[in-house]
């Protein structure tokens, strides 16, 4: 899922300074699962903002809504009827959702209420960890199902570097060395042959470096 963290309330209040009537918009997708941008978080954020503005002697009117997904046009359209009645929309969906709202409602300012994180997994309740950078050219079959691009702090294709110590990365003792994980797994799978092969230079053109990416499925159009 796409993860995220709430922006500090002070930052949000500063963004809202020019406005007295806003929509707080959540999303039932990824951000609901990682509990940063769903219906419940919309309620909590709206209440916090009301209280803060009341304490500051300047009330704010807030409409609370949550869309099925902010990354799909059909759900975004559901706001069409009332968006113009508000001065701004504070979205706590991921960056994709926030941008899509901004694209569809061109005359209303869109404000981000969360910092979008990464493509990750729930390692345990309340803890998420990155697993994929969406580089567009998956090599997991060669690396024991563990991604060198994401799990190695240097995205090395022939790791580990000299900074791998007792299973942790040189960037911190709480960061597992991605290449130690890969080697452990390749050994368990009896696939160490994969380790000693020289890998071709990665084509980053399928990653973000090639510019904004697009997937077109002719069979679905």
């Amino acid at each position: 899922m796409i993860t995220g963290t709430p922006k500090p309330i002070e930052e949000i209040l500063e963004m809202l300074e020019p406005y007295d009537k806003i929509i707080v918009a959540g999303c039932y997708g990824c951000v609901t699962v990682c509990r940063v941008g769903g219906e419940k978080e919309v309620q909590v954020l709206a209440s916090t903002l009301r209280l803060a503005r009341e304490a500051a002697g300047r009330k704010i009117t807030i409409k609370e809504i949550s869309l099925e997904r902010q990354c799909d046009p059909e759900y975004i359209e559901q706001m069409r009827g009332y968006v113009q009645d508000y001065q701004a929309v504070l979205s706590i969906a991921c960056g994709a959702g926030i941008q899509f709202l901004a694209e569809k409602y061109t005359t209303t300012p869109l404000l981000p209420g969360i910092n979008t994180g990464f493509l990750g997994v729930t390692e345990r309740q309340g803890e998420w960890a990155e697993r994929c950078q969406g580089c567009g050219d998956c090599v997991l079959h060669l690396t024991g199902g563990i991604c060198p691009v994401t799990r190695c702090a240097k995205s090395l294709f022939h790791g580990p570097c000299g900074g791998s110590v007792q299973g942790h990365c040189e960037v911190g003792k709480d960061v597992p060395c991605g290449w130690q994980l890969i080697i452990d797994r390749l050994k368990a799978l009896d696939q160490m042959d994969n380790y000693t092969k020289l890998k071709p230079y990665k084509g980053w053109n399928t990653s973000r470096d090639g510019g904004p990416r697009r997937i077109v499925r002719e069979d679905m159009i």
């Binding site: 702090a153 240097k154 995205s155 090395l156 294709f157 022939h158 790791g159 580990p160 570097c161 000299g162 900074g163 791998s164 110590v165 007792q166 299973g167 040189e170 960037v171 060395c177 130690q180 080697i183 380790y195 000693t196 020289l198 890998k199 230079y201 990665k202 980053w204």
Partner: protein, 308 residues
């Protein structure tokens, strides 16, 4: 000769080679390089110039190499893949070769988190293994990795670094083999203090005949004090300093620890010199270049051979 560098010639002639390193300054003053280089001159066959080591911004390695060259010292260009993509790496390789730099050390580079700019974006477009391969492709095939023909191939004696003490230990020799297959001509090791572990590594490498395919230069760093030893052991990732080594220097009174550190370093070099499979020594006297003559001379490695 692949590059015609002095280091390559010295090794090819069967001499026990000596390299050292000069860290460029945190500023634009060339005198700092010249001061350090004066201590290096005459004591070595080539001198490494580090590339923004520990991710701290310093004068560029190529510039440092050129200052050394002006002084008649053979430079060895260190190049990390942390800060430059393949376009910049290739360009700098061509530039360095055009300026007469003939030795290269291909490195990953410490993570930027350790430097003064932890917020910097890192590059790692290719890794150090691929930089070795890229350089060899340009040198031997006369083409860019893209396949485009070069207007003059760069000439480098290609080196790599290995850390026999990092984890996991069992892939350290296979990794050296990969670097040789990628195109490494010589290797400089991480500082050796744990001789026992190093011997296990070397024996394994020799069983596979790797010492015949690559020139192994053993890395040593003289300890200035017990405090420095403890600091390095604790703070430098992949640095293996056994307690017995620390004890030996810590047992000396403070004012005699530096001399002890030099004595220990000389002993180590002498031991390495006698070991089969070791082609030379890389003396990293970090911010202690003034002791290089004493160390290298003390180990019986002066004067340096002149090979035509």
């Amino acid at each position: 000769m692949k590059s015609g560098s002095n280091l390559e010639k010295v090794l090819a002639a069967g001499h026990f080679a000596v390299t050292a390193e000069c860290g460029p300054p945190r500023g634009a003053d060339p005198e700092v390089v010249r001061r350090k280089a004066a201590y290096v001159k005459g004591n070595i066959d080539a001198c490494n110039v580090t590339d923004n080591q520990t991710s701290v911004v310093r004068m560029s390695s190529i510039a440092g190499c050129m200052i050394l060259k002006e002084m008649g010292i053979e430079p060895l260009l260190q190049m990390v893949v942390r800060d430059r993509n393949r376009i910049a790496l290739q360009s700098d390789l061509l530039g360095a070769s055009a300026l007469g730099v003939r030795n290269l050390l291909c490195l990953s580079g410490d993570h930027q988190k350790f430097g003064d700019d932890p917020q910097a974006k890192n590059v790692f477009d290719i890794d150090s293994m691929q930089l070795i391969h890229l350089t060899r492709t340009m040198r031997d095939d006369g083409v860019f990795p893209s396949g485009q023909k070069l207007d003059g191939a760069p000439k480098f004696f290609i080196g790599c670094a290995v850390n026999p003490f990092a984890d996991p230990f069992e892939i350290r020799v296979p990794r050296l083999k990969m670097k040789i297959n990628a195109g490494a001509d010589f290797v400089q090791t991480q500082c050796i203090y744990n001789m026992e572990k190093f011997k296990v590594y070397l024996e394994d490498a020799m069983r596979q005949g790797l010492h015949e395919k690559v020139k192994i230069l053993a890395g040593v760093t003289p300890l200035k004090s017990a405090g420095m030893a403890k600091f390095m052991k604790k703070m430098v990732a992949g640095m293996d300093i056994p307690d017995a080594v620390i004890k030996r220097i810590a047992d000396e009174p403070k004012e005699k620890q530096a001399a002890k550190g030099i004595e220990m370093c000389i002993e180590l070099i002498q031991e390495l010199k006698e070991m089969e499979g070791i082609a030379g020594v890389h003396v990293m006297a970090i911010e202690w270049e003034e002791k290089l003559n004493e160390i290298i001379g003390g180990a019986g490695l002066l004067p340096r051979p002149v090979v035509e």
